[in-house]
């Protein structure tokens, strides 16, 4: 081994030490070897005098460990034990009121974060539609009524976004919790993204449009609707777990679970397949939720009308020789997004054919 080889090997084996310190050490060894050569020894002999390179490396690291150990004992070790204790306490705290494993809870929190981020991204088209519509109203109708309508438009879009946010968030969260609560056998390997995609499944959306028309007739006799629902659910529960491939059934499952989850949590029941549908209280909640969702539909309808108006206005503008391709894309995209949200709402509202 010659001098450069030796020094390179040493450098490589001492990577754990920081660069400047390492350079310092290497320089010392370099000058040592050079002086030995000056004293009449050969390069090889000078290096042989160091003995086994691995032992030398161990010695050097040993000399450093003394310093680093001291640091560890005072601060790092204390910090580590503190965090360990904190985590243990957290685990026990969670374990006291939930049956979900602590690892799953961590995963769940992470997934909820992902959902929140996705929903935050969804806010962008809403904002664009809101500002576009508002500015159009402003410029077409003029000040006074125009600005009033623009403010109204902004408020409507804002409410619509909040509504979509709540619906999507609650649905997805309940679905995730269901996944974790059920046995691992029932786990379909769906990620949070799959669930999110399912919420915007256009195929199932088409089906629900049909359901919407047939469900409308049902909606007229609202007095019996809530009680019917309770009975119908009873029969549904039996085959709910069997038939998971059907997209609409899936939606039902999801919806069911949201309420049964709150119930089971209250009664500390582990078995999520026994739905307590005979409970009168839940029926009232169902009916109220239905009315709530009906109200939520209104801004969406208004949004579609607004977007259509915007499209019409833009066509008129383009006839006057003023085309905005970007604006067209925005409006059409907005229409698609609103359509997706409306179909999602249909699914939740009229989930029965």
């Amino acid at each position: 081994m010659n001098k450069e080889e030796f020094l390179n090997t040493l450098d490589r084996k001492l990577q754990v030490i920081n660069a400047s310190e390492r350079k310092d050490i290497i320089d010392e060894y370099r000058s040592h070897i050079e002086m030995k050569i000056k004293d009449g020894k050969t390069e090889e002999e000078a290096i042989e005098d160091f003995g086994d390179i691995d032992e030398l490396v161990d010695d050097i690291l040993d000399a450093y460990k003394i310093n680093t150990d001291r640091v560890h004992n005072t601060f790092d070790a204390k910090l580590n034990t503190f965090f360990d204790q904190l985590f243990e306490g957290f685990k026990r705290f969670l374990g006291s009121f939930t049956s979900i494993e602590v690892d799953d809870v961590v995963k769940l929190v992470f997934e909820i974060l992902i959902i929140l981020i996705l929903l935050a991204i969804l806010q962008i088209p809403f904002r664009l539609v809101a500002s576009l519509g508002a500015s159009l109203l402003h410029s077409i109708i003029g000040f006074g009524i125009g600005s009033f309508l623009a403010t109204l438009w902004r408020i409507i879009i804002g409410i619509a976004y909040v509504a979509v946010f709540i619906v999507v968030f609650v649905n997805l969260c309940s679905k995730r919790i269901k996944h974790y609560r059920q046995d691992k056998e029932d786990w379909q390997g769906e990620t949070v993204f799959d669930d999110f995609k399912n919420s915007f499944d256009f195929e199932s959306a088409k089906q629900t449009v049909h359901q919407f028309t047939s469900g409308k007739a049902k909606e007229q006799n609202t007095t019996t609707a809530s009680s019917e629902e309770g009975e119908a659910e009873d029969s549904d529960d039996t085959n709910a777990t069997e038939d998971t491939k059907d997209a609409t059934h899936k939606e039902e499952n999801k919806y069911h679970h949201r309420y049964s989850y709150t119930y089971t949590a209250k009664h500390k029941e582990e078995d999520s397949t026994t739905y307590p549908v005979t409970n009168g209280f839940l029926k009232v909640v169902f009916a109220l939720m239905r009315i709530f969702f009906c109200l939520l539909m209104i801004p969406f309808v208004l949004m579609v009308i607004g977007l259509c108006c915007a499209l019409g206005a833009m066509i008129v503008i383009s006839f006057k020789g003023f085309t905005l391709p970007g604006a067209y894309l925005l409006v059409i995209g907005g229409l698609l997004v609103v359509n997706a949200f409306m179909s999602l709402l249909y699914k939740v509202l009229w989930r029965r054919g």
């Binding site: 310190e21 050490i25 010392e28 060894y29 000058s31 040592h32 002086m35 030995k36 003995g51 030398l56």
Partner: protein, 105 residues
């Protein structure tokens, strides 16, 4: 010689050598080698540690031959440390010798 003996006493020898006069690495290695047969490579990590613990200060000085040399100078903290280690060594040495004599060897 027993490597454990060497390791224990090496620090004291290095401290005492630098106490007498400032030295550069290679000079120190030759000095120490006169007393204990030690692997030349192990002196440098020790010098590094003693510097990190503020017993030594390092500075560069021009030499008549070749590049500037890195000299080590003892600090007041290093002097204290030397005195402590020296006292410890003396007592330890006496105790061991007394023990050997008592056992009639």
């Amino acid at each position: 010689m027993n490597t454990q003996f060497k390791k224990g006493v090496l620090e004291l020898i290095v401290l005492l050598s630098v106490y007498r006069k400032d030295m550069y690495g290679y000079e120190l290695v030759s000095e120490v080698s006169k007393v204990v047969d030690v692997n030349e490579g192990t002196i440098y990590p020790l010098l590094k540690r003693l510097t990190n613990e503020h017993y030594f200060e390092a500075y560069l000085a021009e030499s008549t031959e070749g590049p500037p040399r890195k000299y080590y100078k003892i600090t007041s903290l290093g002097k204290e440390r030397t005195n402590v280690l020296l006292k410890e060594w003396v007592t330890f040495h006496e105790q061991v010798n007394t023990f050997i004599k008592e056992n009639g060897i």
